[in-house]
């Protein structure tokens, strides 16, 4: 479903050239839960941004749902992102000016989904992640866990092919972190593909495979043998 080959990302400023990713070969299979681990600055976020079509690689090959991303333009990448990718961030990134319901609804608006269907899908997902009772509240009135669950709902609402989660538990205490991890596991069990960047080996254990990244290169890949295909 996602495949990279010799994927390279180089950041250039006027004086310095930094290689963030070096010759990364990676495949994400349909329905898989993949965790990416590594110390700060190893390129975790960079690879997630590239997989999420927010950033473009400097070289190598990258296929997303059989589209050659290195040849795609901004408009095509926006369309792919809009329809097939859901994001979950460490700091939730809910829009303060929008209520929980409206935040979750937003991706559907950009997809021009009719109002009735939007309401039905949003309410269904809010129920699923357990924040239905806060649907008309604004993000700042919710706990961190609730905010992140709302963010997960927003990521899921377009029925994306893959969810990319960047340290989804990073800003949460243990209890709320567990809740969110449990939610992601459940979603994966139901067939959602997930790629998650994390610091925590504890949470990485929920994944089918763990990719260990160091200085922009893959050190090794652990397979927990739980992938069912």
């Amino acid at each position: 479903m996602i495949r990279t080959s010799k994927l390279t990302k180089v950041f250039r400023t006027e004086e310095v050239e930094t290689t963030a990713l070096n010759q990364v070969d990676l495949e994400v299979r349909k329905g898989e839960f993949l965790a990416i681990m590594g110390p700060s600055g190893c390129g975790k976020s960079t690879i997630l941004n590239i997989l999420g079509l927010l950033d473009t690689p400097s070289g190598g090959e990258f296929y997303f749902l059989d589209h050659d991303i290195l040849k795609a333009n901004d408009k095509e990448r926006t369309a792919l992102r809009r329809n097939h990718i859901g994001f979950v961030f460490q700091n939730f990134n809910l829009i303060d000016e929008l209520s929980v319901f409206e935040n979750v609804e937003l991706p559907l608006l950009y997809q021009n989904v009719p109002a009735a269907e939007r309401k039905q899908r949003v309410d269904e997902l809010l129920g699923k992640v357990g924040v239905a009772h806060r649907r008309n509240h604004f993000p700042q009135h919710l706990s961190g866990g609730q905010q992140q669950r709302a963010a997960v709902a927003r990521a899921l609402v377009t029925k994306p092919a893959v969810i990319l989660a960047d340290e989804p538990t990073g800003n949460l205490d243990t209890k709320h972190g567990e809740e969110v991890m449990a939610l992601l596991s459940d979603l994966n069990d139901e067939g959602t593909t997930i790629v998650m960047v994390t610091h925590s080996p504890e949470y990485a254990r929920h994944a089918d495979r763990i990719v260990n990244l160091l200085d922009g290169e893959i050190q090794n890949i652990q397979d927990n043998g739980s992938y069912k295909g």
Binding site: G86, N93, D96, E97, L106
Partner: protein
Amino acid sequence: MIKNYLKVAIRNLVKYKVFSFINVLGLATGVAVCLLVMLYVSDELSWDRHFSDSENIYRVGLHGRLGEQELIDPITPPPMAAALIAEIPGVVSATRLQNPGFPVLRYEEKVFSEEGFAWADSNFFNVFQLQLLRGDPKTVLRHPNHLVITESVAKRYFGDDDPIGKVLNADRRADYTVAGVLADIPRNTHFSSMNIFLSTSGRQGRGEDMWVNNNVMTYVRVQDGITKADLEAQMPQLVEKYVAPQVERFMGMDFQQFLNNGGLWSYYIEPVTDIHLKAQGSMKIEPGGDYTWLVLFSVVGVFLLMIAIINFINMSTARSLYRAREVGLRKTIGASRGQLITQFLTESVLTAIMAVIVGVLMAQLALPALREFTGKPLQIPYLTAGWFMPELLLAAIIIGILAGIYPALVMANFDPVKVLKGSFHRSRSSIVLRKALVIFQFSVSIVLLIGTLVVRGQLSYVMHKELGFNKNGILVVEKTDDLQTQASTFKEQIRQLPGVVGVTGNQNIMAVQQHENITPYNVQGEDANQQNLVWQKIVDHDFADVYQLKMKAGRWFSRDFPTDSGAIILNEAAVRSFGLDDPTTAVLTHPRGPNQEPQQLPVIGVVKDFHFETLHEPIKPLVFVMWDGPYIGRYQSIRYNTNNFPALLASVTTKWKEFSNNQAFEHFNYDESFDNLYQADIQTRTLFSVFALLAVFVASLGLYGLAAFNAVQRTREIGIRKALGASSGNIVVLLGKEIMNLVITSALVATPIAWYLMREWLAGFAYRIQLSPTPFLYSAFAAIMIALLTVSYQSMKAAMGDPVRALKYE
């Protein structure tokens, strides 16, 4: 989708209250000013356009030069109109209007001195198609002594009675019959003060064939396609055919010689629609507008709106950092650039709509003041003009897009990876742009401040300059000509009243009412072709005493010298103009005396130069001539030296009632009327002050908003500086320095612009102040102080902040 945009827009407006308030208030101020300026301008531009076929009506004027003096005025000789019809192709008709003064009209007990009295040719209402309520426009002015009056005049004399056929007596001499009634002439007509038109039929024979007498206004109506240039091209042949022979006959000059000596005799043409704003010459039926200032203040109005739009642009780009995360996120979940731009434009358009609503309210509130100020019954045409409401909406959308497009583009271009990571910093280019925009705002403000100071300085100079005579302590009684033979008795009895020092009868009131006559003279014995145009004033024995003129040489007219009625007195300018070494022994020749023969007039005295016109005009050569009739004057000027003015006025009023036969008592204080001559300049001063105030206000609003965002953005920098030992004072200086630099740059930009504009304005005064650095320095200093005060609150707040908290920020 649009619903979502609106929802977010409204929530953002509510959330950032200060920001929204500044934007709406600033834009609203700009909108209000633009709207008011537009009302004023469109009114000024509407003059004389209500006549059908107005673009085919022109007025003829005279442009002449004799000696050093030049004359440009819309006056023409009586035979001009007939010659135009007969000899110029494309002229459909030509008609004449003449304002011979103001007769006193009587109907039974009703007596009024009529200022709007004019003689008009029988085809006047064919050229100017005014609405005739009674009478046939083709015939109504055909018969001698027939009158057409306006509805208001009819009401004044006859109430509800039928005015047709009623007889009005003029000056106890002639009877005029009302033959037609005209709807009141629209206010925006260059002769709207005319309200009584007397047929010129039967007046032929009084110099009807004199081409060297310029005393009527001539208007022509031409066929479609005939232009001003076409007409002007035909005028020299009229001069050659008619004027040249008469110059030789009546003025004793050879016309070719006259031209060779640098003389000029030509006619110019002006479209009737230009008369109000661009008329040449100073002679006007009523005061016109000033096209240059109209353009200038339209520009200033637009600049004010631009300043407000710049506030919006500046604060939106400054604030964009706050919204970076939102933008990044929206992009991440699939918003396209177009969708983001649409969203931000929705917000700016919404702000602009609110601003337009508030602006219209503000304009409505300011309207009474504007009406008072301009003397125009201006209205905001909410529903009377169908285009107005849609136009307002369109204006709001355009303003919204102008204000919103740059910030929208900036924000839509944010890189989501960077903004979501938080490693996002303001770009250099947007900071440079923001500074440039602030400089623009303050440059405009400073130009207006300088303008205010210079205009104030010049007006104060004008008001206090020594005039060469004493304008204070003179009471003028108007329209005394109807007293006729009793005028001398009236004058003498006023003279006897307690508190009265002197009385003089006048044909016109110096500078205030009408201009002096212009007439040619030459020095006796010199070449008759060397004539000089001079200004001529007809006076009585008491004029110099009442107005307190100072003699330079010789003496004033005296009752002890009966021969004085054939003598003249000059001012210093006239002495210079004629090149007289010993003026009191000189004799001047007037080419056309009472018997059409040259007349010799000895000079008996010279008065020191004094300002008989406003300080806009240089002191021109002036000749005083004695009035030798039994009585003089439409006015009596009374010099008094009493502190009890009300008692004086009461005793003069009582005297008036004894003599006047029911005519109303009209009077004014000379000094007030004299100061009123600067009304247009005083209006300029007010406009400058108001615009300067508004520009500074709106620019400061923007600066305040900008400072608020700036302080927040630099919180971390300030925290680090404080951690490294900077004092709060250091920080305030740091933040203030940036503003100082911007305002000083603005002052540098503003100085040459203001210098140029003010030099142009001052050039309109023959007597003026020198442009000194003072107003420039004061304005720059004021702008700097205002700017510093504006940002000081934010700077202090940032400087006093807790560095630990500041460092944790982000």
